[in-house]
Every structure is written in structure tokens, then in C-alpha cells.
Amino acid sequence: MVKPQTDPACRLPLTPAVFHVLLALADGERHGYAIMQEVAASTGGQIKLGPGTLYGTVKRLLEAQLIEESDERPDPQQDDERRRYYRLTAVGEQVVRAEARRYAEIVALARAKKLIGRTALVPLPGGGA
């Protein structure tokens, strides 16, 4: 049976670039450069998105309606008006939650098999909390 497109599970698994971009937008809307910085910080610099990769991913996420362009603009004096801001759609939020749960289940499974311990889940460098 073909699952409807609205089912987040039918969009999984996500590629690492897509997952990280969606995670970056989970905190709120961001422009391209801010997304790139957030991804680099949360992965300890392991993933550095170039302009081509970032906007290719953004394009596909827009087409899949997982993100949308935001009309709200910050104070023009504090920002470059040429920047485009993006935010998660409701579907996008469901998809990133589903993917995060999938990862959590995999981690739980690995832990049950004693492949990793609790210390394996320390936050990545620069990843905040």
C-alpha cells in the first residue's frame, strides 16, 4: 500500500545535509548563512555546507514543502535585505521529529547491544546544551 505524502515516515531516511538543515531551522527561522553556521557549529565543523549544497538542499526542501520562505523580516538596520529567511513548515517539523526519533531508536538499539555507553551521547563541540 502506498503511504500518503503527508506521512512523515515516507520521507525517511533523510540525507545528512537535509537533516542538519532541518535541525538548524528547528530553533526558528534563519537565513542561508545562519543555517550554514549552525550546521558547522552543531557538527563541530565536520559538515561545512558550501553555497551550492546549501541552496540545492533548500530548493529540494521548498519543493517538498518541508520548509518555506518567511515573509517576516528583522529590523532592516540589523540585516541585509537581500537575505532570504526560511522556516520549517508543519510537515517539515513532523519529518524532522520523525527522523530524530528514528535516530534515537537506533541509538537505543546500539546501547542495548552495549555497542555504545551513555558517554557516547555527549553534546558535539559547539552544539550548545
Binding site: G50, G56, V58
Partner: protein, 319 residues
Amino acid sequence: MNAPRSNHPFRFSLGLYRRLLWLYPAQHRAKYGAAMVQLFRDQCRDARLKSPTWGLAALWLRTLSDLASTSVAERLAALKERKTMTDKLGSLFAFRTTPLTTRLMVFIPVFVVVFLSVFIGSVAITFILPETYASTARVKIEAFEANTAPDALSHQVAAMKNISSAAVLERAIAQLKLNEEFGKKYYNGEILKTSETMELLKHQLRLAPVQNTSLIAITLYSDDPEEAARIANAVAEAYRDIRQEARSPSATSPVNALAISDSSPIIIDTAVPERVPVRPNKPLNILLGAIVGAILASAAGASALALLLLVRRRKSQPS
């Protein structure tokens, strides 16, 4: 006056990136081109702050890889949007409409990406390689003793043996305190034995006769132009002094150890620190990078065309 000069690589990078954006399909460029340039500008600024010297070079290496992979992916996606992939690849070689344009659309992006990758890689490597400077002192060999040097060439050969002899090099080493200096430079401050310093010095020293003259060129190679000139002059002076002492009737060993085939040398040219390194040869390396890049890029472009032609032929064959 300094600011515009330091901004030049930054502006050049932005201009080049803008031009490279045409590797992407027109639709993608129109929608995301400005944002991509904006992001690249931000990355350039970050790269310069992180490392003023190599930041932009490192960013370009990453960006070229990003351009190569994503521009091809976007072009394939654009082809897919209109027809199936196979239909579109076939139509590229049908040459029904604008044959030259369609061929160039395949060839040029591949050519540009491969050429720039090779060229920028060679430029980056050229500027990463350590620089070596050479300084040359020239010594004129005066009258020689016919019994030990039957002709001018063997006289010069004998003179070169004397210049590279232990007596001359030991004197130059002692004069410049090279045991300490080389120890600091190469062995974390440990004072070297004279024999060890002499081995190092011999690796840096090149002697050559100057054709049709009675001159010997004493060339010293070093990563420091001042040091190269200083040592070359010290070797020349040590040789001259020892030769003069050898001519004195009261001279004793080790000066006499220099078999008398030359005498009364005169230093014609003292070595001066050179501003331009002899290695790497930057203009030559950059030229070679451009030539090799053009050859490889042409081959890659031709291979891409041949691959698409093969796809078209397979498609046109009845199943």
C-alpha cells in the same frame, strides 16, 4: 592605499564565483544566484578573518568541489524536469536546433571545473612550498702552476676541489659560527660537530666554472637570502685567505694541504641577498598548472561528450 590592495583577492574571488554560477541551470541561477553569492561573500569574510594568508585558498578548494558536484546535480535535475533523463541526453546529441550550443553546454562546464581545480591546486601548492634562495660569489683564479694544472679546465677543477676542501669549509664554519647557527636552525639548539655542519654545508654549496673565463661561481642555497649571501662570501674569503697564506714561504699545514694548482685568487663578485627565490619557480609552476589544467580539462570535456554520445547510441539501438 593598503586597503584596496588587501581587498583585491576578496573582490577577485567574488567576481570569479559570480561567473562560475553559470555552471548552474538558468532557472536555479535566477532563483538562488544572488543568495549563493551573498553566502560566498560571508564565507570569504570568515576565511580571511580565520587565516589572512591561506583562508581564501582553502575556501576555494572546498568551493570548487561544491561547485563541481552540485552544478552537475542541478543540471541533471533540470534535464529530468522536462523529459526523462534518457530522452534529454539523447536530444543533446540530436543537434536538431543549436548543435554548437548544446555541445558547449556539456563541454564548457566540465572544462571550467577541471581547469580551475588543477590550476588553483597548482597555484596553492606553489605558494605552500618552502622558498629557496641562492646567492653567488665569483672568484677569479690567477696564475697557475703549470706542473699541476696542464690546462685551464683542469686548473678550475682543481680550484673547485680546493674550495670544497675541509680546510676552506672549516674556516668558513668557524668564522660564521655555523656549528651553533645550524644547530639552532636544524637541531633545536644542539651544537653540531664541525664534520656534521660541513655535511650540511656541502649540500647547500654548488661550485661551477664560468665558461671561457678563469672564474669559479660559489653558489649557496638557503631558505634565508641573507644567510645564503653571508655563507657564500665566507667560503670565498676563506678560500682566498688560505691561498694567500699558502703562497707565503713560511706557510705550514693545513694550508699546504691544498695542492697548489691555483694561486692568488681575487673575489670578483661578492654574493648579495637575492629577493627572488630560485625554488619554487612560481611563474613556471603557474604556467605549467595552466597548461596541464587545459589538457586535462579538454580530456575531461571530451570524455563527457563521448559518454553522452554513448548513452544516445545505446538508446537509439532497438532492444
